[in-house]
Symmetry: C2
Subunit: 350 residues, 2 copies
Amino acid sequence: MPQPTPRRTCASLIAFADALLQAAGMPPDKAAAVADILVDGDLMGHTTHGLQLLPSYLREVETQSMQVAGGPEVISESPATLTWDGRRLPGPWLVLRAMEAATAKAKRCGTGTVVIRKSHHIACLASYHRRATDQGLLMILASSDANSASVAPFGGLEPVFTPNPISVGIPTPGLPIVTDISTSATTNGLTNRLHQDGGKLPAAWVIDGHGQASDDPAVLFKEPKGTILPLGGLDSGHKGYGLALMVEALTGGLAGFGRADPKQGWGATVFLQLIDPGAFAGSDAFLRQMGEVARQCHAARPADPRRPVRLPGEKGLQLAQRQRQEGVTLHPGLLEALAPWAEKLKVALP
Amino acid sequence: MPQPTPRRTCASLIAFADALLQAAGMPPDKAAAVADILVDGDLMGHTTHGLQLLPSYLREVETQSMQVAGGPEVISESPATLTWDGRRLPGPWLVLRAMEAATAKAKRCGTGTVVIRKSHHIACLASYHRRATDQGLLMILASSDANSASVAPFGGLEPVFTPNPISVGIPTPGLPIVTDISTSATTNGLTNRLHQDGGKLPAAWVIDGHGQASDDPAVLFKEPKGTILPLGGLDSGHKGYGLALMVEALTGGLAGFGRADPKQGWGATVFLQLIDPGAFAGSDAFLRQMGEVARQCHAARPADPRRPVRLPGEKGLQLAQRQRQEGVTLHPGLLEALAPWAEKLKVALP
C-alpha cells in the first residue's frame, strides 16, 4: 500500500495541474478550468473525482480523444435553452461555460437549461455548484456516459446505464446544500478502487452475474459479469432505476446522442439547469424557507449522539475551507501516479 | 377484512366521483378534473392514491379546508416560469391548469416551470404524465406538504420531510416511461394502510424512535415515535435525504411558502416542469435515444426468468388499458367508505 502523502497547498496543486495540462497542449483558459475543478474535488474530499483523474485526462489529450482546440458547436437555442455539441472538449471547461450561458438565460427567463452532447468527462459534479449558489441560484447538474454501462435496470442482469449522477446546489442563508448522488447504489470509481485494493463495499451494492447481491466489487470483474445495483438495492431498486431513466432522458434524450449511437470513447452527456428563485416567490422568501429546513435538519436529535445531523455537502465544504487554509491531504499513491507525467512533460512536482 | 369489490366501469366511477364532488359544492370543471385524476390512479393500480382519497377530499370541502370557488392568484411570472398561490383549491384541477400554462411556456421558451403554493392535495403524481407525453413533452412533477413531516433527515430521529415524491413522464416510441417515487423508503399511505391491517413492510423502511431499523409500521405510532427512512435506508439514506432536500427547494423554496410558516392543513406545494425535446436536439432524436434505452432495458436478461424487465409505469399503464376495457377492480372496503357520502349527498353508488 502506498503511504499517505504530506499536505500540499491548494495553489501549488492548481498550478501543477494547470502546468501539466498546458504542457500537454491545452490552451490556458481550458487548462485553468480543468485544474480548478479537479482540485475542488480533492478539497472537498471527493478523491476519486479529483486529481486522481488527471493522469487519465493527460492520456486522453495525448491520444486526442480529448480535444483541446476551439469551442462547442451550437445545435439549437431557444430563450431558456441551449444545446451544444461539445466536440470532446474538456468537460470542466464546457460546464463552466455552459453555467455562464444558463445563468444569463435564468436571469431573463427564470430558468436556463443547457444540454451538452459529446463533452469529455466532467469530473466531480459537486465542484461546480458554489459558483451558482454564491449568486443565489439553484443548480441541477446531471450526466451520463453512453460509452459504458455498469448498472442494470431493476430486475435485470445486463448493464444499460452508467451511475447517472444527479447533483443539486441549493443556496441557504449559511453554507449551500450540495448533493451529489449517483442514481446507482455505488459508483464505478469506488468499485474500481476497492477492487484494486482488495476491499469490500459497505453494503450489498452490487449483484453477481446470477443476480445474487454482494458487497464484493470483484463480482463486477468475474464472468458472468455482475452489475452495480440501482439506488435502493434489491428491495427498492425500482426507484434508482426510475431516477437513472430520468437522467438518461435529460442527458442522452435531450442531447439526441447516446446509447443509440456508436461509442465515441470516455466522455459525458450533460444536463444543467440554473433556476433563479428571484423569478418565483423571490430570493428572500427562498432563503427563508431553506434556512428553516436547514435549521430543522441540524436540530433533529441524532441517532448517534456523537454524529449530529449534517446537511449534504456540509462536511465537504467545511473540509474544503480547512484544506484551503492548511493544505490539501492527497489520496495515497496520487503523486506517484502523476510523477511519470511530471517527468515526461517537464513539470516540477508540487 | 372487507371483501374484494366487483368490477366497475371506468365511466361509472368517474361519473360517481364527479357527482359526489358537485353535490358537495364543487363547480363542474373542478369536479371533472378531480374525478378524472383520482380514477386514473385506480386504473393504474395506485389504489392508495385513487378514489380512496375521495372521502377525505369530501370532508375537506365540507369543512372548507378545500376551497371550491375562483382560481389561483399569480404571485409572479417570467417568460419560462409562473408562480401561483393555489388558495387551497383542488390540487388535480390546479395541476392540470398549471400543465397547460407550462406547456405554452415550453413551446415558446423550451421549458415551462410552474410552482404552486397552497394547493390542496394533488393525488397520484403518475396520473398526470400521459397528458404531457402524448404531446411529446417530458414532465417533471414534485410535491411536498409542509403541513406534516414523517421522514427524518439521514442520521436523525425527528421528522422534517414528507415523502417528497418526484415523478417523471418520458415519451418513447412505445408506452411512455412514468416514474413516481417518493424520496423516502416508503410512503405515509402504505404505512398507514399496513398499520391498520396489522401488516408488515417488505423491508426495513422505517426506524423506531431510538434509530433501530424495522419493517413494522407500528413503530411510527408508538412513543417515542419512529420515522420513515429516506430512500437508501441505513446504508445509503444520504441519497434519499439529498433528493428530499432537492424537492423541498423546488417546492417550498421556490414557492416561498412552507416549513417556515404556520401550518395551513393538509395540502401540497407543487413544482412542475414541462420540457420540449423539440427545443433541444429535436423530438425525433429524443425518441430515437429513448427508444433504444427502452429496448435495452426490455432486452436485459432478467434475474428471475418469470419476471422480464419492465419500464417504470409499464405495468400501471397496461393495467389501466385493461381496466378501461374490462372494468376497474377497487380496493376492498373502498365503496363501503364512500357509501355514507353517497347517502348523505344523495348520489347513487356505481
